[in-house]
Amino acid sequence: MPGLSVLIPVYNRPVAELIEALLAQAPQWPGALEIYLLDDGSDETCRCLNQPLGALLGVRYQELPRNVGRAAVRNQLAAGARHEWLLLLDNTGQLPDGQFLARYAAALGGAPVLAGGVCYAPGPQPTQRCACAGATGKRVRCARRPSARPRLIASCW
């Protein structure tokens, strides 16, 4: 069965919630699956929030020494991906429902490239940035920003 690399560029966003949801859906994919996070020079405060995700089985977390921009990060993610199928998400998104990976699994083989689209949450949500207390150890607060739900593009290499 084909493997799937879920590739997520990370820049100054906490992504634990997105990773939690993706891992919960991992069994929906019929092959091997990795989640590959590449931090694009985020503030230390935000890196502290995301680094522990690398200790979860199935999640790979790496950091770039400086910001290079999302397109370059996507290329690096694709180059380093371990699997045949690549699912490109953004760090601002959330999964729309519990069948997100199942839909891609069902569409496998239908085309070399699948575009899943983006749905936007109705109504305003609190604005946010990564306003974190950081490594000093205070409780970190991260609000959510009016979030584009994930860009769902999977392409076959």
Binding site: M1, Q51, A55, L56, C132
Partner: protein, 225 residues
């Protein structure tokens, strides 16, 4: 006959495109506790990664917790990983969540349903590591040893048959390391096999168990010498 939790036969352990260990054959039973030693770069971590299917087993055969490794990439990896617990050297708790929320994160990520069930499970594992009162504390309010206990509690959430530990006492004072080893001993007595990579020979001397040594591209087994 005892239940085999891990069995590798003539396995080659890869690191990137290079074979770091060849002809690896060993088995762990349900009640086993074994150390994995060897210099940095000798293949310890790669062997552990092979066992939790982060690295593919391309040569040889193996089973882990009832799953056949060479055939694994067939949707079974998440299920295999739910039968394993893993503890790393760094404590790796999410800093913006309480102890209980850190454990809840893993339960959600591994498909648990039902609020009451999840709460009960969190209380159970915190009790096992002696931290029942810490559920609502933030990780930075805990000592290093306490944080490592929370990580061990997290590793126990899905009742693993095998606990893999990579230098779990590496960042701890000797006294604290000692208490962590006592905890591992209790977990092992309760029926979980443990494979622990370590450089800490004081720990090995004080808590003697079988030793697997990565050396010169091969795995030496103290049980066979």
């Amino acid at each position: 006959m005892s239940e085999l939790i891990v069995e590798l036969r003539d396995a080659t352990v890869m690191q990137e495109t290079q074979a770091v260990l060849q002809g690896v054959s060993f088995a762990l039973e349900k009640s086993d506790f074994a150390y994995l030693v060897g210099r940095t770069g000798s293949g310890k971590s790669s062997l552990l990664k092979t066992l939790y299917a982060d690295l593919p087993l391309l040569v040889g055969t193996g089973t882990v917790a009832g799953f056949a490794l060479p055939r694994l990439p067939v949707g079974k990896v998440p299920y295999l990983r739910r039968r394993l617990g893993i503890v790393f050297q760094d404590f790796q708790l999410l800093p913006d969540r309480t102890v209980a929320e850190n454990l809840l994160f893993v339960l959600n990520a591994t498909g648990w349903r039902g609020k009451a069930r999840k709460q009960q499970r969190i209380a159970d594992v915190l009790g096992r590591v002696g931290l029942s009162s810490a559920a609502n504390r933030m990780p930075h309010r805990l000592s290093g040893g306490e944080q490592q206990r929370v990580v061990i509690a997290r590793a126990l959430l899905n009742e693993p048959t095998l606990l893999l530990a990579d230098e779990p006492t590496g960042n701890l004072d000797p006294e604290v390391a000692d208490s962590i080893m006592q905890l591992f001993t209790e977990i092992n007595y309760a029926g979980t096999a443990i494979l622990m990579a370590t450089h800490n020979f004081q720990v090995i001397e004080k808590y003697p168990h079988r030793v697997l040594t990565c050396q010169d591209g091969a795995l030496l087994d103290s049980a066979r010498n």
